[in-house]
């Protein structure tokens, strides 16, 4: 995984709450067996609408998405993170993320920057006033900077460390193979097997 320290890019305001993962990527696209190539699938239903925010030419290169509360609810599909990544997003800003989505994002190198809804509203207003404005998301300092606005964001400390270092979770866990083997020796015998 690539290291993430700070990112500056065009931000797009998505004035919706409860952006569920079926909206981010409908189930139809989940039949593919690859991990990349989902840029066409991102918000595919909403993108049919010419007025949809990502269809505005000023957002053609958007890499920061600013959304309302409960972003990423619903299905556990990691394809939602892959679709956001493939489209070019590096950061989603929201006032509340669904747990599974946030976990998936951390694995996929997509930063979930959580701020108060008040900050989301300020960003929306700023981005409406200055469409195409570039926003800086500084993971080192946990800070969002946009025009005159400076706001702190929260992200899980361990996830932040992993993103900053670009570390692979499985590699970290496999270093603890002895602890796993020791645990396995003590598991109760009545537990079921599938074989």
């Amino acid at each position: 995984m690539d290291k993430f320290t700070t990112h500056t890019g065009v931000a797009a305001p998505l004035r919706h709450s409860n952006v569920d993962t079926d909206q981010i990527i409908p189930a139809e696209y989940l039949k593919r067996i690859t991990r990349t190539g989902y840029e066409d699938a991102l918000f595919s239903a909403w993108r049919q609408d010419p007025e949809f925010v990502l269809n505005h030419p000023v957002h053609a290169t958007a890499s920061v998405l600013v959304a309302g509360p409960d972003f990423g609810t619903g299905s556990s599909r990691e394809h939602a993170v892959w679709a956001l990544n493939d489209y070019g997003f590096r950061v989603v800003v929201s006032s509340r993320f669904a747990d599974i989505f946030r976990g998936n994002a951390g694995k996929g190198g997509l930063v979930t920057a959580e701020v108060d809804q008040e900050v989301v509203e300020q960003l929306w207003d700023l981005l409406d006033a200055q469409p195409g404005l570039e926003v800086t998301v500084d993971l080192q300092d946990r800070q969002i900077r946009a025009g005159d606005l400076v706001a702190d964001f929260t992200i899980d400390e361990y996830v932040r460390w992993r993103l900053l270092e670009g570390l692979d979770d499985i590699g970290i866990t496999l270093q603890h193979g002895d602890a796993i083997a020791a645990f396995e020796r003590d598991r109760p015998e009545f537990l079921p097997t599938t074989a």
Partner: protein
């Protein structure tokens, strides 16, 4: 201070704990299906890793599979490729699989419990958010993403931050005609789709203890719709009776039961949050909008956006009414539906089919309505046929299908057409969930059956006697 049920199960699975790091948790059962696993197996191949414990892993085919002509090759080439990829991956890595045509094929969350693989105190994961279903047994069960699927395949563990705990106390008794589905829809409407975020919910109280295992699964299944990662119910005699004699139940059953009895929240344990629901005040419940929190008693009317004080909720209601093609103020019972879907990991078990069949017995599905009955597993289908339920559904004019996820998420050919409206026993009423442009009202099996007869959203009590 004592521990909650969730904390007990968590603590019993900690492989490694270190300051500033997530706990490394051991996973007792890993269920996989065709949609969220191919990229995980690719990851193993790319890194030369193997599946650490294939005998703690079980695969089934459910999301993509057709519910008609299952003896023929899957017609959709992309779906077929995904199902074939699962079979090839399982063969390569030695993972047991219950493929289409197998007597144990079905929705992953129906198959695990019916085999007796889901047991109290276990940790269960699957690349599927409705893994919360298994919490009905007092297991800590939650959905994971594909990177985590790969992680569990490779290590049989997951690094996780402890969840907070929330007690959902359901006091009193559910009135006659009010089901577990109505209860969970009412809970979600009360706490909201983000209300459980960061929590494991523990459903407690007399109304929960009175539920059957299958009803408890319906409740825990939709914990994710309240934003929670998992939902749990403490195991009791109902749980033990359900497991006794199941194929994968412990050989030394009594020893297991002795341990399982310890899996209750201690009297002096504290939850991080508490919610109380009065079961006696509930009635059949239905969703009107495009998220599962947008629900009301069936006797109510479609709300107006002005009814909501919170600006986000108001905007969401406005958008939902537009998508759903509904006018504020119209009675929910005046909403006509085109399709009724009975099935899914929420309500596709034998008790759900029995409840719907009881209502359809001697009645007809309205001419304007197409009704699909999709059992959650092959076993459920065979059991229903043994009881003659298939004949009841077919005599009423409903379609009797083969097992799978089907129209719950429309990855197979079972889909709504644009603007088509369904009453569905599934779990999500998101935009386009049951097919692009489709409109979904979430209901119980009983309301689904009554709605099929009337052609409008209806409760069994709205039907004339036959």
């Amino acid at each position: 201070m004592g521990k909650t049920l969730a904390e007990k199960v968590w603590d019993a699975h900690v492989v490694r704990r270190a300051e500033g790091e997530p706990d490394l948790l051991y996973i007792d059962l890993h269920l996989i299906h065709e949609v969220t696993s191919p990229q995980a197996f690719d990851g193993l191949r790319a890194t030369g890793r193997s599946v650490r414990r294939p005998e703690l892993t079980l695969a089934t085919e459910d999301h993509n599979v057709p519910t008609l002509d299952i003896d023929k090759p899957i017609a959709d080439p992309i779906s077929r490729a995904q199902v074939e990829a699962l079979r090839a991956n399982c063969a390569e890595f030695g993972v047991p699989i219950r493929p289409l045509g197998d007597a144990d094929q079905g929705i992953v969350h129906v198959v695990g419990p019916q085999l007796g693989l889901t047991q109290p105190g276990m940790t269960v994961v699957c690349g599927d958010s409705h893994t919360s279903t298994h919490g009905a047994f007092g297991a800590l069960a939650f959905g994971i993403g594909t990177s985590e699927v790969e992680h569990v395949l490779a290590t049989q563990t997951l690094p996780l931050k402890p969840f907070k705990t929330m007690a959902i106390n359901v006091e009193g008794e559910l009135p006659a005609g009010v089901t577990a589905k109505d209860l969970i829809l009412a809970i979600i409407a009360q706490i909201g789709t983000g209300g459980g975020q960061g929590y494991v919910l523990e459903y407690r109280g007399p109304a929960i203890e009175a539920l059957s295992m299958e009803q408890r699964m319906t409740i825990c299944n939709m914990s994710i719709e309240a934003g929670a990662r998992a939902g749990m119910i403490a195991p009791d005699e109902t749980t033990f009776d359900y497991l006794r004699g199941k194929e994968r139940a412990p050989e030394d059953f009594d020893a297991a039961v002795a341990y399982w009895r310890t899996l209750t929240t201690d009297p002096d344990a504290a939850f991080d949050a508490d919610v109380t629901i009065d079961a006696a005040a509930l009635s059949p419940f239905v969703t009107w909008g495009t998220n599962p929190g947008q629900g009301l008693p069936l006797s109510a009317s479609v709300p107006s956006p002005e009814d909501f004080e919170d600006p986000s909720e108001r905007a969401a209601a406005q958008k939902a009414l537009q998508y759903m093609g509904l006018e504020a103020g119209m009675a929910l019972k005046d909403i006509t539906v085109d399709t009724v879907f009975l099935g899914s990991c929420t309500n596709g078990r034998i008790e759900d089919l029995r409840a719907a069949a009881e209502i359809l017995q001697g009645r007809k599905v309205a001419d304007s309505v197409t009704m699909l009955v999709v059992p959650g597993s092959v076993k459920v289908r065979l059991q229903a046929q043994e009881e003659g339920l298939d004949k009841v559904f077919e005599a009423a004019g409903a379609q009797w299908r083969n097992a799978g996820c089907s129209m719950c998420l429309a990855m197979n050919p079972d889909k709504l057409r644009p603007q088509e409206r369904s009453a569905s026993t599934s779990n999500r009423n998101f935009e386009g969930r049951q097919g692009p442009g489709g409109r979904t009202h979430l209901v119980s099996p009983q309301v689904a059956a009554a709605t099929a007869v009337v052609g409008r959203l209806a409760a069994p009590s709205d039907l004339v006697e036959v």
